[in-house]
């Protein structure tokens, strides 16, 4: 049982990061950016390109890929979403545009790297470290550590720093921000940077634990989306409880029923939340979510 609780913690920490990355963009632009799934994939594939194919030192490869993903995120924003926003298209069209962008970017990965599973962790597979009758691998330890550090620090940034406060200000009322002289586009760019950074980290951590393929980002993103809907937008506690709930439900259904029903149970929870508690755990307004 302890081992299952550990598994739940590890997968929920990944979901939490995805959900945070997702909601950072939502705060400022008010739409669900599906193209983030492609950024998740890009993060891991750039590490593969640099460290496995080009034999760069590993840490250097990771830093380089994270930087490239952030640049890609900014490019997406400047070349596509900025123009859409200027034309003030409806958030449904916005959503569809991001879906289209995801398909384009994901196919770029498929074209260059091929669709088969790739391995970036070529080190010897070892029996996990045994801590109190629980096996945990180094990567899993790292995942837990990095995701909690990132989650806490990003939340601190949002709560304490000027930039974070501006992001939240843009979230609550754009027009008022303009009156107060907060540059909306600059704040959006900053939140895009933060969210692309998180997406790249999630991709790398996930690909390190298991293998990767060009479409693995989408599943992760979908779970992140479910977490946001269950947790409620803009609530830290909501995100934590949402990701814990989703991953416990998945692992317990895998344990007590069968792993092929994991997704089914996840989406049953999603739909019942939408019907019974549409504002999520936090109770914050979710009616802004139009999709």
């Amino acid at each position: 049982m302890q081992q299952i609780i550990l598994n739940i913690l590890i997968s929920s920490s990944l979901y939490l990061l995805v959900a945070l990355s997702f909601s950072l963009i939502y705060y400022t632009t008010k739409f669900f950016n599906i193209a983030l799934a492609a950024l998740i994939v890009f993060g891991s594939y750039f590490v593969y390109l640099f460290s496995v194919q080009l034999n760069f030192p590993f840490l250097f490869a990771v830093i380089l890929s994270v930087l490239i993903v952030i640049i890609l995120g900014i490019l997406n924003e400047l070349l596509v979403f900025y123009h859409l926003r200027k034309k003030s298209v409806s958030s449904l069209k916005y959503f569809i545009a991001s879906l289209g962008l995801y398909v384009i970017l994901q196919n770029c990965v498929s074209l260059y790297f091929g669709d088969d599973s790739k391995v970036i962790n070529n080190t010897e597979v070892l029996v996990g470290n045994k801590i109190f009758s629980v096996y945990i691998t180094n990567i899993q330890l790292l995942t837990l550590f990095i995701s909690s550090v990132l989650f806490i620090s990003i939340n601190l940034v949002l709560q304490k720093t000027k930039i974070g406060k501006s992001i939240r200000a843009v979230e609550s009322n754009v027009n008022l921000c303009k009156i107060y002289g907060i540059n909306e586009e600059r704040i959006i760019l900053i939140s895009v940077c933060l969210s692309s950074f998180l997406a790249a980290i999630v991709g790398i951590l996930s690909a390190f634990d298991t293998n990767m393929s060009p479409t693995f980002g989408f599943n992760l993103l979908l779970y992140g989306l479910v977490v946001i809907i269950i947790g409620g937008i803009g609530s830290t506690k909501g995100l934590i409880s949402g990701s814990l709930l989703i991953s416990s439900v998945q692992h317990f259904s895998a344990y007590y029923i069968d792993s092929k029903w994991m997704d089914l149970v996840t989406y049953i929870i999603l739909i019942s939340f939408l019907i019974l508690k549409p504002l999520g755990f936090s109770g914050k307004r979710l009616r802004k979510v139009e999709i």
Binding site: S110, S117, K130, T215, N219
Partner: protein
């Protein structure tokens, strides 16, 4: 007015495309007579398509009259159906080689049967293909026999009577699991755990813990290569120290590459190849010369299937009915000696058991 010109433009484009198509058709008639292939050339399982292609290309490279026309199935039923429809209606092929997965082969078999086109699979092993029609052939034995081979191996050779079954939820996985379970219980064994996974799943840790708790002394994981590779890794990380056995879908070099050292000692059933036969020795030399690597079992069977088709074509010409008669009535050279097709287009062959030792598949005698 604008609308009408738009329609006109569309019609002209359509006519242009049509005329281009007939041009290419005209060109083709001067070239080789085509045999169709439906195989996954892209997608997460493109690796299987590549293995088949190696075998088919080698067999057809020596022939000046017949050539191959590949269509990508993407390892999906829908794409397989469009692929075979295109081969039959546009390329007018009389013989189709493929597909890889049991699901997709079952999906395209009725189309081949209806159009009186021969479908020859060298890798799809589901039991249901046996009665798919008189134009459907294969040179790989059935899953039923594969399940029996695995069950007998675990009980008799490994001396293990309690097993966990964790198979892929696909035609192939379900088919082989049911035969395995039935036979394992008949032999006096006990199934301690039963579960299944979907293609694309990545986290099997919770099930592996359950398997560990169930006290099973061996694990049977029939599936393709991607998921079993992750299962092997995670089993090792969770210190699950029991013998693990898979089906023929997992017996690829790619699995070893993906699972790394955790694949060491993994058993799996696969088709047999008699390495002392001249037919194999000649094939191995040619394969090595062309691709500069050792052939596996799947590409050997692909080559063998293509050679059988070529022999029939050379003797009776590109006519599906005559080729069908030829296949039913003649004996062919194969990787296991003389080969005959029975009235269902099936072969009477056995499965072997292989084990990964020092990063290579070695037959367990």
């Amino acid at each position: 007015m604008k609308k009408i010109s738009m329609y006109l433009f569309c019609i002209i484009c359509f006519l242009l495309i049509l005329s281009m198509n007939s041009c290419t058709n005209g060109k083709r008639s001067n070239e080789k007579i085509l045999v169709g292939v439906v195989a996954p050339l892209s997608g997460p399982n493109a690796h299987y398509g590549e293995i088949l292609k190696n075998g088919f290309d080698l067999a057809f490279s020596k022939d000046s009259l017949y050539g191959l026309k590949y269509e990508d199935s993407k390892f999906e039923s829908n794409s397989s159906i469009s692929a075979i429809n295109k081969l039959i209606s546009v390329d007018k092929v009389k013989i189709v080689l493929g597909e890889v997965s049991s699901d997709n082969t079952l999906a395209i078999a009725p189309i081949a049967e209806k159009n009186k086109v021969i479908l020859f699979s060298t890798i799809a092993s589901t039991d249901k293909l046996q009665y798919a029609g008189e134009y459907i052939f294969r040179n790989i034995p059935r899953n039923k026999i594969q399940g029996i081979t695995a069950a007998e191996f675990i009980i008799n050779k490994l001396n293990i009577k309690s097993v966990a079954v964790f198979g892929q939820n696909s035609e192939y996985g379900v088919n082989i699991t049911s035969s395995f379970k039935e036979h394992f219980v008949n032999l006096g064994g006990e199934i301690k755990f039963e579960g299944s996974f979907l293609e694309g799943n990545k986290d099997f840790r919770t099930q592996l813990i359950k398997i560990k708790e169930s006290g099973a002394r061996a694990l049977f994981i029939p599936g393709n290569e991607n998921e079993p590779a992750i299962i092997l890794k995670q089993a090792k990380e969770l210190n699950l120290n029991i013998p693990i056995m898979g089906g023929d879908g997992s017996s690829t070099d790619n699995l070893i590459k993906m699972a790394g050292n955790s694949s060491e000692g993994f058993y799996c059933t696969n088709v047999l190849v008699d390495k002392s036969l001249d037919f194999y020795v000649k094939y191995r030399d040619e394969f090595f010369k062309k691709y500069n690597k050792e052939p596996g079992a799947y590409d050997a069977y692909a080559y063998e299937g293509a050679m059988i088709i070529l022999e029939a074509l050379k003797n009776v010409g590109n006519d599906a009915d005559k080729v069908k008669e030829y296949l039913y009535t003649h004996t062919f050279k194969s990787m296991t000696g003389d080969l005959k097709f029975d009235k269902d287009g099936e072969v009477n062959r056995l499965w072997g058991v292989y084990q990964i030792l020092n990063g290579k598949f070695v037959e367990v005698k």
